[in-house]
């Protein structure tokens, strides 16, 4: 029996962190692990507008345009979506020095790997993410449970301070 609460961070924790960071836009191709967060953000009371895109490239580019206009965006995608958007990450985050705050769900992670090292996942989809980020020289923080909640803001601030991409890796379904 999986004790989900042990590995999940509630959506409300994300929303509160977003507000403290001044995040006013989400750009996204929605992620299965982040459904609770996507649903929470639909509530207009939070004042955070979601822009749904048809590809992760667009989510990254729209976030960069928002940055150019002086707004603060988080890019919510899943691991395979991040893989699909690498050229936009390269162009805008790395070559152009645009701060990009990624929240990347570890889609496909087997429950047997929860609480263990994602690098030991039997799924290539999961275990290739961190080595890829290392290759791209993108700093990242794991979110493996409630004790890691402060990593949401750490990753956000890192993206701003380094003027480039930084990522939060969501290891399990966000809690409702």
């Amino acid at each position: 029996m999986i004790e989900h609460a042990k590995h999940s961070v509630p959506a409300s924790v994300f929303v509160s962190a977003f507000k403290r960071c001044g995040i006013d836009f989400i750009t996204t191709v929605p992620d299965m692990l982040q459904i609770a967060l996507h649903q929470a953000l639909e509530d207009p009371v939070h004042g955070i507008r979601t822009i749904n895109c048809t590809t992760e490239d667009q989510a990254i580019e729209t976030a960069a345009g928002l940055y150019a206009g002086g707004r603060n965006a988080a890019v919510l995608v899943q691991n395979q979506g991040f893989y699909a958007g690498i050229n936009s990450v390269r162009a805008l985050g790395l070559d152009s020095g645009v701060p990009l705050f990624f929240i990347i769900g570890q889609f496909g992670r087997e429950f047997a790997n929860l609480g263990a090292d994602p690098l030991q996942s039997k799924r290539r989809m999961v275990r290739m993410l961190e080595p890829l980020l290392d290759t791209l020289e993108i700093p990242y923080w794991r979110l493996e449970g409630p004790a890691d909640s402060a990593n949401i803001e750490r990753a956000w601030h890192a993206s701003r301070e380094r003027k480039g991409p930084a990522a939060l890796l969501v290891g399990h379904f966000i809690g409702f």
């Binding site: 729209t62 960069a64 345009g65 940055y67 206009g69 162009a91």
Partner: protein, 202 residues
């Protein structure tokens, strides 16, 4: 036949305080016109202009955003038409400079579907609020003020010609400059400065 430079001259004349996101041939044309600090070239990032423009339009609703796209570039992220229409920025003007080829003036390779894709119909079906097509600079000049005063997001296809290819036996290669890889970031930072964005981490 009108050329990309003709189109960009018209846009430069009417832009006022609009932010311009240009790419591909339009970038080369704007580079031949007087510099404007509210212009950003989407390069090298084929396909990204419309979405960068979308973000700018959502961030700065008080001013117009012109996206000056290319046909092959738009095709690369065609779903972006839907994302723009869904977000529905009323200050977003999407100009498509359609010459039907890629590497215009360099290699002149046919764009997929160049002979039969109906771009305004695609934009209309996606949900753009106004769609136009122009084949002469005179018609475009006569209509631009009305377009900019009308409904948006708007999509304006401009059918243009192209120069002969420069690459060949006598000129077999061109080198990319370093600036080609750094200008987009520099121009984004300049736009932020022009818009008065306060840098938290200068």
């Amino acid at each position: 036949m009108m050329m990309t430079l003709d189109v960009c001259k018209v846009l430069a004349d009417v832009r006022e305080d609009a932010v311009v996101v240009c790419t591909m041939g339009a970038m080369n044309a704007f580079d031949k016109l007087p510099a404007n600090p509210l212009t950003v070239a989407c390069v090298p990032l084929m396909g990204g202009a419309a979405s960068i423009g979308l973000g700018l339009a959502l961030a700065r609703t008080e001013r117009k955003v012109f996206v000056v796209d290319g046909d092959a570039s738009l095709l690369m992220e065609l779903g972006g038409l839907v994302a723009v229409a869904q977000a529905a920025p009323a200050n977003f003007f999407h100009f498509l400079v359609n010459n039907g080829i890629q590497f215009a003036g360099l290699g002149n390779l046919a764009t997929p579907g160049h002979a039969n894709v109906d771009f305004p119909a695609l934009a209309r079906a996606a949900g753009y609020r106004a769609c136009y097509q122009f084949k002469t600079i005179e018609e475009f000049q006569a209509a631009i003020a009305t377009i900019l005063a009308g409904a948006a997001p708007a999509f304006i296809e401009l059918v243009v010609g192209y120069d002969q290819p420069a690459l060949g036996v006598a000129n077999p290669a061109v080198e990319m400059t370093d600036a080609r890889f750094t200008r987009m970031g520099d121009e984004i930072r300049e736009i932020r400065a022009q818009l008065g964005v306060v840098e938290v981490f200068p």
